[in-house]
Symmetry: C2
Subunit: 300 residues, 2 copies
């Protein structure tokens, strides 16, 4: 089944303790779409400025990603983010954010896109996410991401959104902020009580937790020796997860669990290089191989 | 097979964001021994002062723990530790440490104890740990714990010890300190290169990692909603792990992995109340039940 993602498309500048890259391809919708493309056909909706290198669009198209929803706005600049990772490679500081054209992002979906049954609302304000949701009344599975900014500044809008989506994906710090609870197990259940049928809390190098009415579980991250750049780990996790669900065409508990594992593994590849550089070099077979290792690791 | 543990026996005072306890039963050897007692017969070696309540010894004996090696020194006081947990219940501050009689701990094992084939060197200086090792030349499996203090102040002694033990168990912060590497996967392998055949890095609420020449894996913690007091989690983890190995009488890779899981589960019970209060209320059957859940959680 085709999978629709709406979110940020960006040029990122990333500093790590040992290396740096400037103005490389990034953005939540980009990482998500690329990660999902191993599993299913993906439709991307986003906005960029006239400084956007067309080869980035071509790269996405080469993986079969439909970029008909990627709007290029003349006279404007693309969203830029600059960040710096601390030595633990898990925490980071944002050094600069220039929303540019993304600040006025008001997505209008191509007509064909509105019939997508699997929808992911990547990074964006709850107001924008809600507008997208309104354009896809027939979606069977809708999952949103969120971030600290919206939890703090658009709390009501986020609460309204949570009543309408099937799933929410967020990181551990965001889950604590949203609930005021430092225990992630309780936090996960509390968020579920805010509306979504399931909640995924991403814990970076420590894996991810899943919460539904009848299930609570944790999946550890795949142990990675060479974390080069964690940017996009959460989005590629979500892309792998949603891509697998869309491929399977269902979201039964069993499928969701396998999807969590695929998300974990795509993310484990993504952090092995800057931007999409590592993902560009892998195929579905590499994911299958790592999945065999991962299953072996978790069985005893 | 009987399992020997040598380490601290203490009276702990613990503050959490919502509650506190003063002068309760604690210490690395105590948590370890109690956790291991679900699996095998345990022999404890430690030292206490004349302020030691005899009912604590009785409690250990009730679980079949042989306390013949618990020395009571007249005119001295028991080791006391006071700590305070931060709201995340994972990080803590040490408010007071009074080594008291533990400061001069120079364990001489009862003759029968020296023939133990499974030996755990709990919290103690590498010099003391080495002395114990020297008294047990026939031990088939020797595993040590360590802490930041020894890594900083008795580095050479610790390095000498690592060349002689089969396994080392330490927490994530200690692994980073010992290797200067922030990546736990690399840190685990580097510690293994210092001598031990296997290394276990405990990550608190995030589980534990295992490293041997041919295997690297992560086991997530059992998701616990009610973390009341994390004191002794690491020691009860080690106790569950070593207890299972001693019960099985081998340390094949397969047995080690199951032992890691049992360690995880004993620790998950331990944090559900202060001191040994939660462990006092469980039996082996409770561990078996939680193990079924845990296996289900990790299979997909």
């Amino acid at each position: 089944m085709p999978l629709l993602v709406v979110g940020s498309v960006a040029l990122d500048s990333v500093e790590t303790p040992t290396d740096r890259r400037d103005d490389v391809l990034g953005g939540s919708a980009v990482y998500f779409a690329y990660a999902a493309s191993y599993f299913t056909s993906v439709r991307l909706v986003g906005v960029v400025g006239e400084d956007w290198p067309p080869e980035h669009t071509e790269l996405l198209q080469q993986r079969g990603i439909d970029t008909a929803g990627l709007q290029v706005v003349a006279g404007k600049k693309t969203f830029r983010w600059r960040g710096k990772y601390l030595p633990n490679m898990n925490d980071r500081e944002t050094l600069e954010v220039h929303l540019n054209v993304f600040g006025e992002f008001d997505p209008v979906l191509p007509e064909e896109f509105t019939r997508c049954q699997f929808l992911f609302l990547a990074n964006g304000s709850p107001v924008v996410q809600m507008k997208v949701l309104d354009q896809c009344p027939g979606a069977r599975l809708t999952v949103a991401d969120t971030m600290d900014l919206w939890i703090r500044e658009q709390h009501d809008g986020l609460m309204a959104l949570l009543k309408r989506v099937d799933g929410l994906v967020l990181n551990d710090a965001e889950a604590k902020l949203l609930t005021g609870d430092e225990n992630l197990v309780r936090a996960g259940h509390r968020i579920r009580e805010m509306g979504p049928r399931f909640v995924v809390i991403k814990k970076g190098e420590h894996g991810a937790m899943f919460f539904s009415e009848h299930e609570t579980y944790v999946m550890p991250a795949y142990p990675t020796e060479d974390v080069i750049d964690p940017t996009g780990a959460g989005d590629s996790f979500a892309g792998g997860m949603m891509g697998f669900l869309a491929e399977q065409g269902n979201f039964e508990p069993k499928t969701l669990k396998e999807a969590m594992a695929y998300g974990t593994l795509v993310a484990s590849f993504n952090v092995e290089d800057f931007s999409l550089d590592r993902m560009k070099k892998i195929e579905r077979a590499d994911l299958t191989r790592r999945m065999e290792e991962y299953r072996r690791m978790l069985s005893f």
